[in-house]
Protein backbone atom coordinates (compact mmCIF):
# COMPACT_ATOMS: atom_id res chain seq x y z
CA UNK A 1 0.00 0.00 0.00
CA UNK A 2 1.44 3.31 -1.03
CA UNK A 3 1.23 6.33 1.20
CA UNK A 4 1.91 9.98 0.59
CA UNK A 5 5.49 9.76 1.74
CA UNK A 6 6.53 6.73 -0.26
CA UNK A 7 4.44 7.09 -3.33
CA UNK A 8 5.86 8.64 -6.49
CA UNK A 9 3.31 10.46 -8.56
CA UNK A 10 4.58 11.85 -11.81
CA UNK A 11 4.87 15.61 -11.70
CA UNK A 12 2.48 16.26 -14.57
CA UNK A 13 -0.47 14.87 -12.59
CA UNK A 14 0.53 16.23 -9.21
CA UNK A 15 -1.12 19.38 -7.91
CA UNK A 16 1.06 22.43 -7.33
CA UNK A 17 0.74 22.14 -3.56
CA UNK A 18 1.58 18.46 -3.69
CA UNK A 19 -1.83 17.36 -2.54
CA UNK A 20 -5.33 17.26 -3.94
CA UNK A 21 -8.12 19.11 -2.15
CA UNK A 22 -10.76 16.76 -3.55
CA UNK A 23 -8.74 13.56 -3.58
CA UNK A 24 -8.77 13.53 -7.37
CA UNK A 25 -5.98 14.21 -9.80
CA UNK A 26 -5.74 17.60 -11.45
CA UNK A 27 -6.68 16.20 -14.86
CA UNK A 28 -9.79 14.46 -13.63
CA UNK A 29 -11.05 17.53 -11.86
CA UNK A 30 -10.46 19.69 -14.94
CA UNK A 31 -12.41 17.14 -16.96
CA UNK A 32 -15.31 17.56 -14.54
CA UNK A 33 -15.10 21.35 -14.80
CA UNK A 34 -15.09 21.13 -18.57
CA UNK A 35 -18.13 18.86 -18.45
CA UNK A 36 -19.98 21.34 -16.24
CA UNK A 37 -19.35 24.12 -18.74
CA UNK A 38 -20.34 21.86 -21.63
CA UNK A 39 -23.48 20.85 -19.75
CA UNK A 40 -24.34 24.55 -19.42
CA UNK A 41 -24.00 24.95 -23.20
CA UNK A 42 -26.36 22.06 -23.85
CA UNK A 43 -28.77 23.30 -21.18
CA UNK A 44 -28.81 26.66 -22.90
CA UNK A 45 -29.70 25.01 -26.20
CA UNK A 46 -32.39 22.81 -24.69
CA UNK A 47 -33.95 25.64 -22.69
CA UNK A 48 -33.98 27.77 -25.86
CA UNK A 49 -35.73 24.88 -27.61
CA UNK A 50 -38.20 24.53 -24.73
CA UNK A 51 -38.85 28.26 -24.91
CA UNK A 52 -39.82 28.13 -28.60
CA UNK A 53 -41.71 24.87 -28.09
CA UNK A 54 -43.76 26.29 -25.26
CA UNK A 55 -44.30 29.76 -26.70
CA UNK A 56 -45.67 28.40 -29.99
CA UNK A 57 -47.29 25.19 -28.72
CA UNK A 58 -50.13 25.00 -31.22
CA UNK A 59 -47.86 25.44 -34.26
CA UNK A 60 -45.11 23.16 -33.03
CA UNK A 61 -44.80 19.65 -34.50
CA UNK A 62 -44.97 16.58 -32.28
CA UNK A 63 -41.95 14.28 -32.21
CA UNK A 64 -43.75 11.01 -32.78
CA UNK A 65 -45.52 12.44 -35.85
CA UNK A 66 -42.24 13.54 -37.43
CA UNK A 67 -39.99 10.60 -36.55
CA UNK A 68 -41.79 7.37 -37.36
CA UNK A 69 -39.67 5.65 -40.02
CA UNK A 70 -37.27 2.74 -39.92
CA UNK A 71 -34.64 2.16 -42.62
CA UNK A 72 -35.94 -0.13 -45.36
CA UNK A 73 -39.49 -0.30 -43.99
CA UNK A 74 -42.45 1.77 -45.07
CA UNK A 75 -44.78 1.37 -42.07
CA UNK A 76 -45.51 3.67 -39.16
CA UNK A 77 -43.18 3.08 -36.22
CA UNK A 78 -43.26 6.19 -34.04
CA UNK A 79 -40.11 6.83 -32.00
CA UNK A 80 -38.75 3.30 -32.48
CA UNK A 81 -35.68 4.45 -34.40
CA UNK A 82 -34.76 7.11 -31.83
CA UNK A 83 -35.31 4.58 -29.05
CA UNK A 84 -32.88 2.29 -30.84
CA UNK A 85 -30.31 5.11 -31.05
CA UNK A 86 -30.78 5.82 -27.33
CA UNK A 87 -30.30 2.15 -26.54
CA UNK A 88 -27.10 1.95 -28.64
CA UNK A 89 -25.66 4.93 -26.77
CA UNK A 90 -26.64 3.54 -23.35
CA UNK A 91 -25.02 0.20 -24.17
CA UNK A 92 -21.83 1.88 -25.38
CA UNK A 93 -21.81 3.80 -22.10
CA UNK A 94 -22.05 0.50 -20.24
CA UNK A 95 -19.13 -1.01 -22.17
CA UNK A 96 -17.17 2.16 -21.35
CA UNK A 97 -17.81 1.84 -17.62
CA UNK A 98 -16.76 -1.81 -17.87
CA UNK A 99 -13.51 -0.67 -19.50
CA UNK A 100 -12.94 1.75 -16.62
CA UNK A 101 -13.65 -1.04 -14.13
CA UNK A 102 -11.18 -3.32 -15.92
CA UNK A 103 -8.62 -0.50 -15.77
CA UNK A 104 -8.97 -0.40 -12.00
CA UNK A 105 -8.05 -4.08 -11.94
CA UNK A 106 -5.17 -3.38 -14.38
CA UNK A 107 -6.64 -6.00 -16.68
CA UNK A 108 -5.24 -5.03 -20.09
CA UNK A 109 -7.20 -7.50 -22.14
CA UNK A 110 -10.58 -6.56 -20.70
CA UNK A 111 -9.86 -2.83 -21.18
CA UNK A 112 -9.03 -3.46 -24.84
CA UNK A 113 -12.15 -5.58 -25.36
CA UNK A 114 -14.59 -3.13 -23.75
CA UNK A 115 -13.01 -0.05 -25.33
CA UNK A 116 -13.28 -1.70 -28.74
CA UNK A 117 -17.00 -2.34 -28.18
CA UNK A 118 -17.44 1.27 -27.05
CA UNK A 119 -15.89 2.51 -30.28
CA UNK A 120 -18.13 0.19 -32.30
CA UNK A 121 -21.19 1.53 -30.43
CA UNK A 122 -20.07 5.09 -31.16
CA UNK A 123 -19.81 4.38 -34.88
CA UNK A 124 -23.24 2.74 -34.84
CA UNK A 125 -24.73 5.81 -33.23
CA UNK A 126 -23.06 8.15 -35.73
CA UNK A 127 -24.31 6.03 -38.61
CA UNK A 128 -27.84 6.08 -37.19
CA UNK A 129 -27.72 9.81 -36.86
CA UNK A 130 -26.52 10.19 -40.44
CA UNK A 131 -29.55 8.20 -41.59
CA UNK A 132 -31.84 10.23 -39.36
CA UNK A 133 -30.50 13.51 -40.79
CA UNK A 134 -30.77 12.26 -44.35
CA UNK A 135 -34.36 11.16 -43.73
CA UNK A 136 -35.26 14.46 -42.06
CA UNK A 137 -33.76 16.45 -44.93
CA UNK A 138 -35.41 14.45 -47.71
CA UNK A 139 -38.75 14.11 -45.93
CA UNK A 140 -42.07 12.87 -47.30
CA UNK A 141 -43.52 13.80 -50.74
CA UNK A 142 -44.19 17.15 -49.04
CA UNK A 143 -46.85 19.78 -49.65
CA UNK A 144 -47.53 22.67 -51.99
CA UNK A 145 -48.97 26.06 -51.16
CA UNK A 146 -51.07 28.03 -53.62
CA UNK A 147 -51.03 31.80 -54.24
CA UNK A 148 -53.90 32.24 -51.74
CA UNK A 149 -52.03 30.24 -49.06
CA UNK A 150 -54.02 27.01 -49.24
CA UNK A 151 -52.03 23.90 -48.42
CA UNK A 152 -52.20 20.57 -50.27
CA UNK A 153 -50.21 17.48 -49.35
CA UNK A 154 -48.85 15.31 -52.15
CA UNK A 155 -49.92 11.66 -52.22
CA UNK A 156 -46.94 10.48 -54.29
CA UNK A 157 -43.30 11.29 -54.38
CA UNK A 158 -42.15 13.12 -57.50
CA UNK A 159 -38.86 11.42 -58.45
CA UNK A 160 -35.80 13.60 -58.91
CA UNK A 161 -35.71 15.16 -62.36
CA UNK A 162 -39.36 14.32 -63.12
CA UNK A 163 -42.47 16.50 -62.98
CA UNK A 164 -45.90 15.87 -61.53
CA UNK A 165 -47.25 14.89 -64.96
CA UNK A 166 -44.83 11.95 -65.12
CA UNK A 167 -46.20 10.47 -61.90
CA UNK A 168 -49.01 7.95 -62.29
CA UNK A 169 -51.93 8.52 -59.82
CA UNK A 170 -50.62 11.95 -58.91
CA UNK A 171 -52.89 13.38 -56.24
CA UNK A 172 -53.22 16.17 -53.71
CA UNK A 173 -54.93 16.04 -50.34
CA UNK A 174 -56.75 19.16 -49.17
CA UNK A 175 -57.78 20.10 -45.62
CA UNK A 176 -55.50 17.56 -43.97
CA UNK A 177 -56.40 16.90 -40.35
CA UNK A 178 -59.96 18.28 -40.62
CA UNK A 179 -63.30 16.53 -41.16
CA UNK A 180 -63.61 17.44 -44.84
CA UNK A 181 -60.30 15.94 -45.93
CA UNK A 182 -60.53 15.36 -49.69
CA UNK A 183 -58.21 13.90 -52.29
CA UNK A 184 -57.93 15.63 -55.66
CA UNK A 185 -56.62 13.59 -58.58
CA UNK A 186 -56.18 13.84 -62.34
CA UNK A 187 -56.07 17.13 -64.20
CA UNK A 188 -57.35 19.24 -61.28
CA UNK A 189 -54.41 18.10 -59.17
CA UNK A 190 -51.91 18.73 -61.97
CA UNK A 191 -53.30 22.23 -62.53
CA UNK A 192 -52.99 23.04 -58.83
CA UNK A 193 -49.44 21.74 -58.87
CA UNK A 194 -48.49 23.79 -61.94
CA UNK A 195 -49.80 27.00 -60.33
CA UNK A 196 -48.26 26.39 -56.90
CA UNK A 197 -46.50 29.12 -54.94
CA UNK A 198 -43.96 26.64 -53.64
CA UNK A 199 -43.33 22.98 -53.02
CA UNK A 200 -42.03 22.28 -49.51
CA UNK A 201 -40.36 18.94 -49.09
CA UNK A 202 -38.12 17.77 -46.25
CA UNK A 203 -36.13 20.36 -44.36
CA UNK A 204 -33.39 22.93 -44.76
CA UNK A 205 -32.31 25.89 -42.68
CA UNK A 206 -34.98 28.27 -43.98
CA UNK A 207 -38.08 26.10 -44.29
CA UNK A 208 -39.31 22.62 -43.48
CA UNK A 209 -42.46 20.59 -44.00
CA UNK A 210 -42.80 19.64 -40.32
CA UNK A 211 -43.41 22.98 -38.63
CA UNK A 212 -41.92 26.44 -38.02
CA UNK A 213 -38.44 27.09 -39.48
CA UNK A 214 -37.01 27.16 -35.93
CA UNK A 215 -38.00 23.52 -35.54
CA UNK A 216 -35.62 22.46 -38.30
CA UNK A 217 -32.93 24.81 -37.03
CA UNK A 218 -33.15 23.41 -33.51
CA UNK A 219 -33.10 19.87 -34.87
CA UNK A 220 -29.96 20.52 -36.90
CA UNK A 221 -28.19 22.47 -34.21
CA UNK A 222 -28.98 20.38 -31.13
CA UNK A 223 -28.58 16.92 -32.67
CA UNK A 224 -25.69 18.21 -34.77
CA UNK A 225 -23.87 19.64 -31.77
CA UNK A 226 -24.46 16.42 -29.88
CA UNK A 227 -23.38 14.35 -32.89
CA UNK A 228 -20.18 16.38 -33.07
CA UNK A 229 -19.56 15.52 -29.42
CA UNK A 230 -20.10 11.83 -30.19
CA UNK A 231 -17.71 12.10 -33.12
CA UNK A 232 -14.97 13.72 -31.05
CA UNK A 233 -15.66 11.16 -28.30
CA UNK A 234 -15.08 8.33 -30.76
CA UNK A 235 -11.84 9.96 -31.92
CA UNK A 236 -10.62 10.34 -28.32
CA UNK A 237 -11.63 6.76 -27.55
CA UNK A 238 -9.63 5.54 -30.53
CA UNK A 239 -6.55 7.47 -29.37
CA UNK A 240 -6.86 5.98 -25.88
CA UNK A 241 -7.46 2.55 -27.41
CA UNK A 242 -4.18 2.79 -29.31
CA UNK A 243 -2.37 3.90 -26.13
CA UNK A 244 -3.75 0.88 -24.27
CA UNK A 245 -2.66 -1.41 -27.10
CA UNK A 246 0.84 0.07 -26.91
CA UNK A 247 0.93 -0.56 -23.15
CA UNK A 248 1.37 3.11 -22.21
CA UNK A 249 -0.92 2.88 -19.17
CA UNK A 250 0.47 -0.45 -18.01
CA UNK A 251 3.90 1.18 -17.84
CA UNK A 252 2.45 4.27 -16.19
CA UNK A 253 0.91 2.10 -13.49
CA UNK A 254 -2.66 3.41 -13.70
CA UNK A 255 -5.48 3.67 -16.23
CA UNK A 256 -6.78 7.08 -15.29
CA UNK A 257 -6.82 8.27 -18.89
CA UNK A 258 -9.45 5.61 -19.61
CA UNK A 259 -11.45 6.96 -16.69
CA UNK A 260 -11.23 10.54 -17.96
CA UNK A 261 -12.30 9.70 -21.50
CA UNK A 262 -14.98 7.56 -19.86
CA UNK A 263 -16.29 10.67 -18.11
CA UNK A 264 -16.56 12.45 -21.44
CA UNK A 265 -18.27 9.49 -23.08
CA UNK A 266 -20.83 9.13 -20.28
CA UNK A 267 -21.51 12.83 -20.52
CA UNK A 268 -22.36 12.42 -24.21
CA UNK A 269 -24.80 9.68 -23.24
CA UNK A 270 -26.23 11.88 -20.49
CA UNK A 271 -26.88 14.72 -22.93
CA UNK A 272 -28.65 12.36 -25.32
CA UNK A 273 -30.97 11.22 -22.50
CA UNK A 274 -32.14 14.82 -22.19
CA UNK A 275 -32.30 15.42 -25.94
CA UNK A 276 -34.38 12.25 -26.30
CA UNK A 277 -36.88 13.43 -23.70
CA UNK A 278 -37.16 17.09 -24.57
CA UNK A 279 -36.77 16.98 -28.33
CA UNK A 280 -38.50 13.72 -29.24
CA UNK A 281 -40.90 12.84 -26.43
CA UNK A 282 -42.34 16.10 -25.13
Amino acid sequence: MASEATQTVDSSTLWGGGRSPFSVSYGKMMMWFFLVSDALTFSGLLVAYGYARHAYTSAWPIGEEVFYSLPGLSGHYPLIYVALMTFILIISSVTMVLAVEAGHRKDDKAVIKWLAWTIVGGFFFLGSQAWEWSHFIHGTPGYITTQDNAKYWLTNEIPHGKTAADVADFGLVANVGTDNETTITGKAALDLYENKAMHVQGANLTINEYGPPQYGNFFFFITGFHGFHVFSGVVINIIIFIQVLKGVYRRRGHYEMVEKTGLYWHFVDLVWVFVFTFFYLI
Binding site: F22, V47, Y51, V273, L281
Partner: protein
Protein backbone atom coordinates in the same frame (compact mmCIF):
# COMPACT_ATOMS: atom_id res chain seq x y z
CA UNK B 1 -15.11 18.20 11.32
CA UNK B 2 -13.03 15.76 9.36
CA UNK B 3 -10.60 17.41 7.01
CA UNK B 4 -10.75 16.15 3.47
CA UNK B 5 -8.04 18.26 1.92
CA UNK B 6 -5.15 15.96 2.83
CA UNK B 7 -3.91 12.91 1.03
CA UNK B 8 -4.22 9.98 3.34
CA UNK B 9 -3.32 6.47 2.26
CA UNK B 10 -4.62 5.65 -1.19
CA UNK B 11 -7.00 8.57 -1.31
CA UNK B 12 -5.41 10.00 -4.44
CA UNK B 13 -7.53 9.05 -7.43
CA UNK B 14 -4.54 7.65 -9.32
CA UNK B 15 -4.52 4.90 -6.70
CA UNK B 16 -8.11 4.06 -7.50
CA UNK B 17 -7.73 0.31 -7.92
CA UNK B 18 -9.76 -2.64 -6.79
CA UNK B 19 -9.37 -6.39 -6.54
CA UNK B 20 -11.03 -9.06 -8.67
CA UNK B 21 -13.61 -9.78 -5.93
CA UNK B 22 -14.54 -6.12 -5.66
CA UNK B 23 -14.74 -6.08 -9.45
CA UNK B 24 -17.45 -8.73 -9.38
CA UNK B 25 -19.66 -6.59 -7.10
CA UNK B 26 -19.03 -3.48 -9.19
CA UNK B 27 -19.94 -5.29 -12.39
CA UNK B 28 -23.14 -6.57 -10.79
CA UNK B 29 -24.07 -2.99 -9.96
CA UNK B 30 -23.30 -1.90 -13.53
CA UNK B 31 -25.57 -4.62 -14.94
CA UNK B 32 -28.37 -3.61 -12.56
CA UNK B 33 -28.13 0.03 -13.66
CA UNK B 34 -28.05 -1.04 -17.33
CA UNK B 35 -31.28 -2.99 -16.92
CA UNK B 36 -32.88 -0.08 -15.10
CA UNK B 37 -31.89 2.45 -17.81
CA UNK B 38 -33.15 0.16 -20.58
CA UNK B 39 -36.46 -0.50 -18.83
CA UNK B 40 -37.05 3.22 -18.22
CA UNK B 41 -36.28 3.99 -21.88
CA UNK B 42 -38.71 1.27 -22.99
CA UNK B 43 -41.44 2.67 -20.72
CA UNK B 44 -40.83 6.16 -22.09
CA UNK B 45 -41.16 4.99 -25.68
CA UNK B 46 -44.30 2.98 -24.85
CA UNK B 47 -45.96 5.97 -23.19
CA UNK B 48 -44.87 8.26 -26.03
CA UNK B 49 -46.37 5.96 -28.64
CA UNK B 50 -49.65 5.11 -26.93
CA UNK B 51 -50.61 8.33 -25.16
CA UNK B 52 -51.18 11.22 -27.53
CA UNK B 53 -50.35 14.81 -26.74
CA UNK B 54 -53.41 16.85 -25.82
CA UNK B 55 -55.31 14.01 -24.13
CA UNK B 56 -56.31 14.32 -20.48
CA UNK B 57 -53.57 11.85 -19.51
CA UNK B 58 -50.90 13.84 -21.31
CA UNK B 59 -49.84 16.24 -18.49
CA UNK B 60 -49.26 13.25 -16.18
CA UNK B 61 -47.24 11.49 -18.87
CA UNK B 62 -45.24 14.63 -19.59
CA UNK B 63 -44.23 15.01 -15.96
CA UNK B 64 -43.46 11.31 -15.66
CA UNK B 65 -41.11 11.72 -18.67
CA UNK B 66 -39.28 14.48 -16.84
CA UNK B 67 -39.07 12.45 -13.61
CA UNK B 68 -37.85 9.34 -15.49
CA UNK B 69 -35.23 11.43 -17.31
CA UNK B 70 -33.93 12.78 -14.01
CA UNK B 71 -33.76 9.25 -12.59
CA UNK B 72 -31.76 8.13 -15.62
CA UNK B 73 -29.48 11.15 -15.31
CA UNK B 74 -28.95 10.42 -11.62
CA UNK B 75 -27.84 6.85 -12.27
CA UNK B 76 -25.57 7.79 -15.18
CA UNK B 77 -23.84 10.49 -13.13
CA UNK B 78 -23.72 8.67 -9.80
CA UNK B 79 -22.76 5.18 -11.02
CA UNK B 80 -21.30 5.40 -14.53
CA UNK B 81 -19.41 8.61 -13.90
CA UNK B 82 -18.60 7.53 -10.31
CA UNK B 83 -19.61 10.88 -8.88
CA UNK B 84 -21.32 8.98 -6.07
CA UNK B 85 -17.92 7.59 -5.06
CA UNK B 86 -16.19 10.97 -5.02
CA UNK B 87 -15.76 13.18 -1.98
CA UNK B 88 -18.65 15.30 -0.87
CA UNK B 89 -16.68 18.49 -1.55
CA UNK B 90 -16.14 17.53 -5.20
CA UNK B 91 -19.80 16.54 -5.63
CA UNK B 92 -20.95 19.92 -4.37
CA UNK B 93 -18.39 21.90 -6.37
CA UNK B 94 -19.73 20.26 -9.52
CA UNK B 95 -23.45 20.09 -8.84
CA UNK B 96 -24.34 23.23 -6.87
CA UNK B 97 -23.27 25.91 -9.41
CA UNK B 98 -24.87 23.92 -12.21
CA UNK B 99 -28.19 23.32 -10.46
CA UNK B 100 -28.47 26.95 -9.32
CA UNK B 101 -27.88 28.21 -12.84
CA UNK B 102 -30.36 25.76 -14.35
CA UNK B 103 -33.12 26.69 -11.91
CA UNK B 104 -32.56 30.34 -12.82
CA UNK B 105 -32.54 29.62 -16.57
CA UNK B 106 -35.66 27.46 -16.39
CA UNK B 107 -37.46 30.12 -14.40
CA UNK B 108 -36.72 32.77 -17.03
CA UNK B 109 -37.52 30.44 -19.93
CA UNK B 110 -40.85 29.23 -18.57
CA UNK B 111 -42.06 32.62 -17.36
CA UNK B 112 -41.29 34.42 -20.58
CA UNK B 113 -42.48 31.69 -22.95
CA UNK B 114 -45.78 31.59 -21.03
CA UNK B 115 -46.15 35.29 -21.65
CA UNK B 116 -45.24 35.06 -25.34
CA UNK B 117 -47.62 32.13 -25.78
CA UNK B 118 -50.42 34.19 -24.25
CA UNK B 119 -49.82 37.13 -26.55
CA UNK B 120 -49.41 34.88 -29.58
CA UNK B 121 -52.71 33.07 -28.97
CA UNK B 122 -54.49 36.37 -28.46
CA UNK B 123 -53.21 38.16 -31.56
CA UNK B 124 -52.39 35.45 -34.08
CA UNK B 125 -54.08 35.94 -37.46
Amino acid sequence: MERDDLIVNDSYSLNNTHTDEQGVTIRKKIIKVTVLLSVITAIEVGLGVFIKQGTTMWPVVKWSFIVMTLIKAFYIVAVFMHLGDERKSLRYVILVPYVLFIIYLLFIGITDSNYVNDIWLRFKP
